[in-house]
């Protein structure tokens, strides 16, 4: 764990010092703000609907941010030739993966939480429960965690950042659109596909303030699976 925190600390410092971290954060907040303004603050709506709409936009932005954050973590290091420093140090692959995941997740959490002023604006002319806000953010962070793990896996298998971005985008798109595929398939396949979809069925309850354990378990499982896959990939490549 000490090594993982060491790697995480360096990554967080790197995000802070590089333009990429700030640029992604600023772009994410801008898009979320525009979305909230266009879809949440127009017309006459229930406060809960406004909040749901905010979370809907924020969840999409968070997925993209997570993939963008994950691209340089391994593919970028491989491209720059710095991965060899970690590969030849007495540090386990799981510690490298966990350290990098923790750093990127901390950044995603920071970017997500900075947007909290938008839900709070609802209190000016309306009323929502703080529980709804908390559950909505929990959903976004769980989704961000899963998307980050998917991105880290594609970053681990790719030689270049461009390849990692393409693969990450494709895999994420497939995972998100599984519910559409489910629509045109027969039971029980449609149920499985719909249940595996990253956003639709799993994220909607969070947006409406409903916390279901099965959805939490789903996101944790996706995160675990792809982090494990990234670890095994790194392990195989480290010795190739």
């Amino acid at each position: 764990m000490r090594n993982a925190l060491l790697v995480a600390g360096r990554e967080i410092g790197s995000y802070g010092r590089s333009l990429l971290g700030w640029a992604i954060g600023a772009a994410a907040l801008l898009v979320e703000g525009l979305w909230f303004s266009a879809n949440g603050l127009t017309g006459s709506r229930m406060s809960a609907d406004v909040l749901r709409e905010f979370f809907n936009g924020a969840s999409g932005v968070t997925m993209i941010v997570a993939v963008l954050m994950s691209i340089p973590l391994l593919a970028g290091e491989r491209e720059r030739g710095t991965l060899v420093l970690l590969n030849t140090a007495p540090i386990r692959d799981i510690e490298i993966i966990v350290g990098k995941y923790l750093a990127a997740f901390a950044m995603i959490t920071l970017i997500t939480l900075v947007s909290v002023y938008m839900p709070l604006l609802i209190f000016v002319n309306g009323k929502v429960s703080l529980g709804h806000v908390a559950v909505g953010y929990t959903g976004i962070l769980l989704l961000g965690s899963a998307a980050l793990a998917i991105g880290m896996f594609t970053s681990a298998v790719s030689r270049s950042q461009v390849m990692a971005a393409i693969l990450g985008g494709l895999l994420l798109a497939v995972m998100v659109t599984l519910w559409l595929v489910a629509k045109v398939t027969e039971p029980p396949v449609n149920g499985v596909l719909s249940g595996m979809a990253l956003h639709h069925q799993r994220q909607f309850p969070f947006m409406t303030g409903v916390l279901k354990l099965e959805n939490v378990v789903y996101y944790v499982a996706v995160t675990y699976f792809f982090l494990l896959a990234a670890t095994k990939t790194l392990e195989a490549r480290r010795w190739r």
């Binding site: 090594n3 060491l6 790697v7 360096r10 410092g13 790197s14 010092r17 590089s18 030739g81 710095t82 991965l83 060899v84 420093l85 970690l86 590969n87 030849t88 140090a89 007495p90 540090i91 386990r92 030689r159 480290r238 010795w239 190739r240």
Partner: protein, 364 residues
Amino acid sequence: MTKAFAVIEIVDLYKYYGERRAVGPLSFSIEAGEIVGLLGLNGAGKTTTLRILACDLLPSSGSVRVNGLDVVESPHEVRSLIGYLPDTPPLYGEMTVRAYLHFAARLRGLSKASADKRVPEVLEATSLAEVQDQLIASLSHGYKQRVGIAQAIVHGPKLLVLDEPISGLDPVQIVEMRELLRSLKGEHTILLSSHILSEISETCDRLLVIRDGQIAASGTEAELSAKLLKNQRIEVTVRGDEEKAKEAAGAVPGVVSVEAIDAAESGEGVFALRIESEGDAREAVCRALVTAEIGLLEVRRGERELESVFLELAGAETTGEGAGASPKKKRTGKRSAKKARASAGEGDAGAKDAAAEKEDGSGT
């Protein structure tokens, strides 16, 4: 007399990239406190060997032991014993030199307190103290190379594995780097690679010449000179018919090659020959030339530089097959040396091949 402890022991090492053999069969050992240079042209297998030693690459077969530990069975333990500088230093440009070295030290297992104590010592030893607060991205190539070495020694490893540490440095930086490497001797056992003999011959106690993934020759520079420069070379300046002179000299027993070179003096019909022979053939050559009615103006012993012998030995078209092999020069010798030089040369086709291999993830 007891034998010194072998820090590196490689026995019958092979490394294949698909069907292609990059290294093997390779066997050598390095004793504690030695500075050994691994010399070879681009693509000879130097980087592959060093990457295997640094536990960055899995060997296909054979045994590689560092301090008695097998790199395949105990990679974690071996990694903590080694300081590794790859051909491109693994530097985070956005970090300051001090922060980077602190991170590298902690990564190699030093506690925070130990790292706090060790980093200033390493900054001092590598003459980086004056740039310790600068971002690595803003440093010159020479300083970046120093930072690369500093990260390799920051945890006080028993063994330093340095891949082309002098490559790309200017003459002043090369001298400084040599001094730095010499200052590390004793405290560390050092294995470093290069494709240019003169760059490391002054620094190393012993040289291993690698060709096609195998050791082609080994020893100190003096030993290599004695072994490899077995053929004697004489240069004669003569007047007369060039073809007749070549024929006469070439017919002398023991002469292995005769070639025309630029004569030091000018004059009608004056030319010079470089004659290489097994043993001293001066008297016999002179007699043969005079008998052939060639005017003998000057005879002198020719100098052979070890660098040219290394290039022939490490190149593709020589007959030397081992430490004891005599590099018999054929008529194509000059061309082969040129070709080898071109391959060893800076920014050459050989380098491109090696770069392509690296692109392929199989850098040798």
